[in-house]
Amino acid sequence: MNFLQTEPIRILLYLVGICAFVGANAAYLVLAERKGAGRIQRRPGPNEAGFGGLLQPLADGIKLLAKQVMVPPGTDALLFRAAPLLVMAPPLMCLAMIPFSDSITARSLNVGLLFVFSFGSINVMALMLGGWASRNKFAIISSARVVSQNVAYEIPMLLVVITLLMVTGTMDLNEIIQQQGGGFWKWNLFKVWVNPLMPVTFVIFFICMLAETNRAPFDMAEAESELVAGAFTEYGGMGFGVFFMAEYANIVVGCSLATVLFLGGWQSPIGVLSGGLWGAGWFLLKLYALIFTVIWIRWTFPRTQFYSLLNLSWKILIPISLFTLLLTGAMMKLPVVYNHFF
């Protein structure tokens, strides 16, 4: 046990652990998505490879790996190859910060929240470089959309997070979770005495998360009926596979962040059994419930129009999140002011 806790081994373990977690999630969330879509559409989904289609991700992976890596003529070959790497790195980095349980965190940092956001913002760059380097008109249109969309949604997201920071007073993710212990009514989602609009804040965060990860109904980057495959039109084989996996890895990061910030992370909803592996269990339960919602949403709604997406951000989400920010500030300072004067 002592040997396991030495720093190099710990780092190695977590490195392997995170890579495995991201890889397994990315692979099996694809299957879960297809199965979920099948369920909603009253069909079985992939069910031929392995028992109930469990080997489908493996089959897909082999197929993608066996494909020739094509760099189409006219592309910027270096950036074209670099983009898939760049798109996969941020979610891997971000997951290092996510506390899976009170004792399972790859790297605890007192500015963990900021870390997640700063590395999360690189993701856009990767999609954009990939699209630009493809030298494909559809891909470039898609890149332009990705940027405006991500820039537009980063603002309400950060506003929401600032609201939350005012409530928690810390950027350490583990500490944020610890503050939410003792039952689901203590989760930030239900802290209506701090800010009566807390559930709305969560909804805004969730919508922004969908938009930032380019998920339906905000999947402007891959609007297949308009832009063929968007930014990755020219990618084939594992290049495409990595983009595809990164999408799911980003969803995992986004949903775990939502879990940590609003749903009490590894805290048990009933106030007991929240340490150690129990905590990890609760965390994963909440995480996958959110991911399931993301899948459910994708297979229910049509895609939003691009300008109504921006309108939603600038005209609805930003004003509301600004209002909640002000409201939270006022609610927090009201007792102080009251005590001061009376």
Binding site: A37, R43, S225, E226, F301, T304, Q305
Partner: protein
Amino acid sequence: MIAQKDLIPVDNGGDPTKETFVLNLGPQHPAAHGVLRVLLTMDGEWIQRAEPVIGYIHRMHEKMGENRTWAKFLPNTSRIDYLSAMHYTHAFVGAVERAAKIEVPVRAEYARVITSELNRISSHMVWWGALLLDLGGFTPILYAFDDREKILDLLEALCGARLTYCYYRFGGLYNDVDDAFLKGTRDFVAHMKPRLKMYRELVTDNIILRKRLTGIGPLSADLCRRYGATGPVIRGAGVAYDVRRAEPYSVYPKLEFKIPTYPEADSMARYLVRMDEMEQSLFIIEQALDQIPTGPFIGKVPRVLKLPVGDTCYAVEAARGRFMVRIVSDGKEIPYRVKLRTPSFSNLSLYEEASKGMILPDALAMMGSLDLVIPDIDR
């Protein structure tokens, strides 16, 4: 063929700083529904000019009509617009019957109405699902196909085919409508009513869909008239033009139904017209099922059909609009000319004018609301 100068249109309005590029939408593109190609001259995401390039699936149906007998051309008619095969066969059969003065038994006419309206519903379901695919919603098409499958099963049991029915014959039908079919149709009508309510709740009332279609691609009644657009497109522009009422045929005069119109003339209006039409079709089917008499299903037809010299037209209200067949006979066994007036062709023609200045996804939403069937354009 497209000349080189058309491929690189310089359309910057005399302003050299305005950069445009040409986006080749199709012939292989997810939104092109078949092999339509649209040359888009774009300024960013704004469409400067959208030029449809057609002919990729041209099959010379009209020419084929000129070198085979009347009966041999019949199978072709269900392949022009494969989604509303019944209507197309109806128009051709009707034209020949009108020219040859063949009496059609009443039972056959009622059966034609029932099958035509079933076909209209199934065609609108494909449109509904495909439009939502264009808009990025994947699930509705599977729900629509689930219900459409019931129609196809009914029609398959009746005439043996699921798509290219070829069910009508000169003077009647290929098979009699049996009781199983009539009962199945009654069940289907009962099944479909709550489903239409579900469609409305899932999609029509959805805020995202409303935002995407309301106010998008207005096609004024004047524009529709100039390009000869018919069907739900012109009804969506507020004009109550329906061939079933304007040029009554078959037993439609005996049946009651409303012509749904919406004056907004946008994509949402066309959407709502089709949704209402499905309801009206169900209503028509119910009446026809109640009124259908017993009797023969095919009239007296000469073995070797020779039409008198003359020029005959027959129009029907197909799912996409007015489909008209004009046949010219010179008294021989083989037609002198078969002219097909297809609705999708006219409905597409206005696309270039209407899509000017639109943003790409909106233009595709509008194209979806036109309900194009590419073989119907190229025929």
